[in-house]
C-alpha cells in the first residue's frame, strides 16, 4: 500500500466528509421530528433531494469542462478527463436518485415507479450520461474524441432544463407535484437545517468523488504514456 502523502491526505479528507454525512443522515433518519402530513416516510427527502441536486450539479460540471476543452486548445489540459469523471459520478448520483425516489414512491403512491416530473427527468439524464460515456468509450483517443465529447456535454446541458420543463408540464396535468424542492412540505426549524446540512455534505462528497476519479484517470494516462515510452525505449 504505497500511496503518496497527497493521496493519504485526500482520502483522509474524504473520510471526514463521509463521517459527517453518516452523522447527519442517521440523525435525519430517526431523530428529527416527523412531518405532519406524510409521517415518517418524508425523511427519504434528506437523501433523495441532495443526490438529485448532485446529479444536476454534475451536468453543469460536465458542461463547464466541455466548454473549457472546446475553448482551450492546449492538449495537455486534461479537461476531457474531468468531463468524463463528472459524467461518471453524475451517472452514479442519477441512479441513486432513482433508487431513493422509488423507495419514497412505494409507500406514498403505492408503486415503485411513477412518471413524476423529477423522476422522469432524472431517468432521461441517466440515459444521457450513459450515452455520453458510451460515446467516449467507442471512439479512438485523440483530439476528435475530445471535441465530440465536448459537443455532447454541451448538448446534454442544453437539454436538461428543456426536459424538466416539458416533463413538468406533462405531469402537472395528471397530478400536481406533491413535493418539490422549495416544497409543499413546511420547511422550518430542524427539518430545514438537516436538509441544508445533508445537501452541503452531499455536494462536498460529489465534488470529492469527481476530483478523485479524475485524479485516477490522469494517473492511468500517466502510466500508459510512461509504459509505452519505456517499451519504445525512448
Amino acid at each position: 500500500m504505497n500511496l503518496t502523502k497527497k493521496d493519504k491526505k485526500a482520502f483522509f479528507l474524504g473520510a471526514g466528509v463521509f463521517a459527517a454525512l453518516v452523522l447527519v443522515w442517521t440523525s435525519a433518519a430517526w431523530l428529527v421530528p416527523a412531518e405532519a402530513f406524510q409521517g415518517e416516510v418524508y425523511r427519504i427527502l434528506y437523501i433523495h433531494v441532495p443526490s438529485a441536486s448532485c446529479a444536476f450539479l454534475c451536468a453543469s460540471l460536465l458542461f463547464g469542462f466541455s466548454i473549457a476543452s472546446l475553448v482551450k486548445k492546449s492538449p495537455q489540459a486534461q479537461f476531457g478527463l474531468w468531463a468524463r469523471a463528472s459524467a461518471e459520478i453524475g451517472l452514479f448520483f442519477t441512479v441513486l436518485t432513482l433508487a431513493t425516489g422509488s423507495l419514497w414512491g412505494k409507500p406514498t403512491w403505492g408503486t415503485w415507479w411513477t412518471w413524476d416530473a423529477r423522476l422522469t427527468t432524472t431517468f432521461v439524464l441517466a440515459l444521457l450520461y450513459g450515452a455520453y460515456l458510451l460515446l467516449e468509450s467507442s471512439m479512438p483517443a485523440g483530439i476528435l474524441r475530445q471535441k465530440v465529447c465536448a459537443v455532447m456535454g454541451v448538448l446534454i446541458f442544453a437539454d436538461v432544463p428543456i426536459i424538466y420543463k416539458s416533463v413538468t408540464w406533462w405531469r402537472t396535468l395528471h397530478q400536481p407535484p406533491t413535493l418539490n424542492f422549495a416544497g409543499s412540505v413546511p420547511m422550518d426549524g430542524p427539518i430545514l437545517r438537516t436538509l441544508i446540512f445533508s445537501l452541503v455534505l452531499c455536494v462536498a462528497s460529489c465534488l470529492w468523488f469527481v476530483w478523485q476519479r479524475s485524479a485516477n484517470l490522469r494517473l492511468r494516462l500517466l502510466f500508459e504514456d510512461q509504459s509505452f515510452r519505456q517499451w519504445r525505449g525512448v
Partner: protein, 48 residues
C-alpha cells in the same frame, strides 16, 4: 411499515457512497503500485 423504506434508503445511500470511495481507493493504490514497478524497471534498465 414505512421506516423499513427509510432504513433501506439510507443504508443504500451510505453503502453506495462507501462502495464508490472504496473503488476509487483501490484503483488509486493499484495505479501507484503499477507506476512504482515501472520506475523500478526503468532503474534496472538504466543500470544494466
Amino acid at each position: 411499515m414505512t421506516n423499513t423504506y427509510i432504513t433501506a434508503a439510507f443504508t443504500l445511500g451510505l453503502l453506495a457512497f462507501l462502495g464508490l470511495a472504496l473503488w476509487l481507493f483501490l484503483q488509486r493504490s493499484r495505479l501507484r503500485i503499477l507506476i512504482k514497478t515501472l520506475q523500478e524497471e526503468e532503474g534496472e534498465r538504466k543500470d544494466a
